[in-house]
């Protein structure tokens, strides 16, 4: 275990930023989100939930793939380069850290996504334990311990000190020059965090029946129609979600060429996976059902029972009309 006074945090950040890009939760225009750190930015480690998840560091909302440029009768083709520089993402919470494992299963399985793979290889993840979990948090349902976040380095704030523990070689390299500390320095903090998470309103949701065995039963449940009725069909839940990973590939006509990029897509949108024959999800009922069936039934049945939800609770606080995955679990799960 290493330690660092919180007062010296900016100096530590400065040292990291000299060598590589540092991404941290920073406040801009009244919101706290992951962004590139510089000395003039305000880091907010006290804010538990960044407005978006940390997935953007590995899977950005918009990413250029290739550019085609017309010159007379010739077309010049310039594929985008994959990430080739190291970077650090600091202050990732346990839930978001788990989401990287889930995204890995999608992007790093055959065929491997070169853009994502390069970012994963070059990124060092420093996580931070959640000192004050929110009422919207329910990560414990998915075997996540807010007191023991994963990542290359795990960190805990104890009073005015930051304690850091390296979990991987990458992590060792990052914090090797910091002062040594007792291995059990964060134990009391961990206990306090666990005491709170146990009391959270959604600490133990009944997920019984959300598996491949009950697929058709869940799919045909009449409750979807009522559950989805107030859904606006916006993409808020999908875009703030750490595990949503669907994207669309689009062409932007720049006048004398094409900029081909990919961008986050949302199964809540009417033109999601639109095909020549139209759409197989004509109303919001089917679109809404798709999102939750994917997270709670399809993904786990294809991935050793792992749910594609990490309980970060962003959809609970961000849905404009108060719809969310907890509501679905309660309406269709073991407690229905």
């Amino acid at each position: 275990m290493k330690k660092l006074s919180l007062n010296a945090l900016n100096r530590f950040f400065g040292e990291i930023a000299e060598k590589q890009t540092l991404i941290a939760p920073i406040e801009r225009a009244g919101q706290v989100d992951f962004g590139v750190w510089s000395e003039s930015e305000t880091v907010r480690l006290d804010v538990l939930k960044t407005v978006k998840s940390a997935k953007g560091a590995f899977f950005p909302q918009v990413e250029d793939m290739v550019r085609f440029h017309m010159q007379g009768k010739n077309i010049e083709i310039n594929p985008s380069e994959v990430m080739n520089e190291d970077f650090v993402i600091f202050g990732v919470r346990a839930c978001d850290a788990r989401s990287f494992d889930l995204l890995d299963r999608v992007f790093l399985s055959d065929p491997v996504d070169p853009f994502y793979a390069a970012r994963r290889a070059h990124g060092t993840v420093v996580t931070l334990a959640c000192n004050e979990p929110e009422e919207t948090c329910f990560c414990s349902n998915f075997g996540i311990d807010a007191a023991e976040p994963a990542g290359d380095v795990s960190a805990w704030i104890v009073g005015e000190e930051l304690y850091l523990r390296a979990n991987t070689e990458k992590g060792e390299t990052l914090i090797k020059d910091l002062e040594d500390a007792a291995e059990d320095a964060a134990e009391e903090t961990k206990k306090a965090i666990r005491a709170v998470t146990e009391q959270l309103p959604f600490a133990s949701l009944n997920l019984e029946g959300f598996d491949g065995e009950h697929l058709m039963e869940k799919f045909n449940d009449p409750a979807w129609a009522e559950l989805s009725r107030a859904c606006l069909g916006c993409g808020t839940c999908t875009f703030v979600c750490p595990t949503c990973q669907c994207y669309d590939v689009r062409d932007f006509d720049s006048g004398n060429g094409i900029q081909r990029y990919r961008c986050w897509d949302s199964c809540m949108f009417s033109d999601f996976t639109l095909m020549a024959h139209g759409t197989n999800r004509p109303t919001q009922v089917e679109r809404f059902r798709q999102r939750f069936m994917h997270k709670l039934v399809y993904f786990p049945s294809n991935n050793d029972g792992l749910y594609s939800c990490v309980g970060c609770g962003r959809c609970l606080s961000k849905c404009p009309q108060g719809l969310n995955i907890v509501k679905v679990i309660k309406a269709l799960g073991g407690d229905k």
Binding site: Q61, V196, C234, G235, T236, V240, R250, C263, N324
Partner: protein
């Protein structure tokens, strides 16, 4: 008030004056409210309190092809949206029973979170003070500091064109609603550009602002239509990012009632209503005060022509530097 509303709704349904009611239900948290249609069998679950900030009137559009009449609960500000929807023939007023409900401003839980209040488990209201219970102790907050932004530019306590009203309302405005717009106008173009770049660069194109907006009632938006040539799901560059919201503001100009839902639902906290309010301010200055949705059948200044309209040069002069 909630019980009086339920009782009245039940009477109306039992008398055959209506078949269902569009209101709010409680969600997973005590502060969560979801728009919902109730019938006489489940009307007991209807919720009306300080957390019902959502404007539900747009949901009436999808109800129109159905048989029967729908009671809709409207706060004073929501009544303007209902009237505007009727003016635009998106809602048939004859199929709606507009039940005005009293309002003294609605609480914004996100605002409490921004104040650093975490783990909110209960809120009790006593006069102008809120006691917020959390997993980490109790906090007192002035009610006015916890109101939705739209309530700080309240349309007043009068419901416009409703069939009846239950409960009293209070005007909750603080200051002039055009204050921030005037501040932006006073900036240099560079400063103003910086302000909007800072705000709009947070946009994630979730379309919540568009989908919730009662004035955005196109069946298929150009931005969702592959045949339009301008459809997209994320901005390919900075220019597009700026333009989406500006185009939307232009599209609803003259029809926007300033209901404030766009800013309420924005997951990124962008003050989108300021774009619309700039249009409203300009319309007021150029053509005289106008409030969209004040009554059914209005023609708004941008689509209306009368012989007494001023010549463009006069209008231009009146607009001064902002025209």
């Amino acid at each position: 008030m909630q019980e009086m509303i339920k009782e009245r709704v039940l009477t109306l349904i039992n008398e055959g004056a209506a078949d269902r009611v569009l209101a709010w239900e409680t969600g997973e948290f005590f502060y969560d409210r979801t728009p919902k249609f109730f019938d006489k069998n489940n009307v007991n679950d209807l919720k009306y309190d300080s957390f019902c900030g959502a404007n539900v009137t747009k949901y009436l559009i999808a109800e129109m092809p159905k048989e029967g009449k729908t009671i809709v609960l409207v706060k004073p500000c929501d009544s303007y949206s209902l009237n505007q929807l009727c003016t635009e023939h998106r809602v048939n007023r004859e199929k709606v029973y507009a039940l005005g409900v009293g309002c003294r401003g609605k609480i914004d839980v996100e605002k409490l979170r921004t104040m650093g209040i975490k783990g909110i488990t209960a809120i009790t209201e006593e006069g102008d003070t809120l006691t917020v219970s959390t997993l980490y102790g109790e906090k007192k907050v002035a009610r006015k500091d916890a109101l939705l932004d739209k309530c700080l530019c309240c349309k007043g306590k009068e419901h416009k064109g409703v069939d009846e009203v239950i409960g009293d309302s209070e005007e909750t405005s603080v200051g002039d609603k055009f204050e921030m717009v005037a501040k932006l106008e006073a900036m240099t173009p560079d400063e103003r550009f910086e302000f909007w770049r800072g705000e709009l660069s947070k946009c994630i194109r979730c379309n919540a602002c568009r989908n919730v907006c009662p004035a955005c009632s196109c069946i298929k938006c150009v931005f969702d239509n592959p045949k339009s040539g301008v459809d997209n799901k994320a901005a390919a560059d900075d220019f597009e990012e700026n333009m989406f919201h500006i185009i939307r503001a232009y599209h609803v100009a003259g029809r926007c009632t300033d209901c404030g839902e766009c800013s309420r639902v924005c997951p990124q906290g962008i003050p989108l209503h300021l774009l619309n309010r700039k249009m409203i301010k300009d319309i007021n200055e150029l053509y005289g005060d106008y409030q969209a949705g004040a009554e059914i059948g209005q023609r708004h200044p941008l689509t209306d022509y009368t012989l007494s309209d001023d010549e463009p040069s006069v209008v231009h002069e009146r607009g001064g530097a902002n025209a």
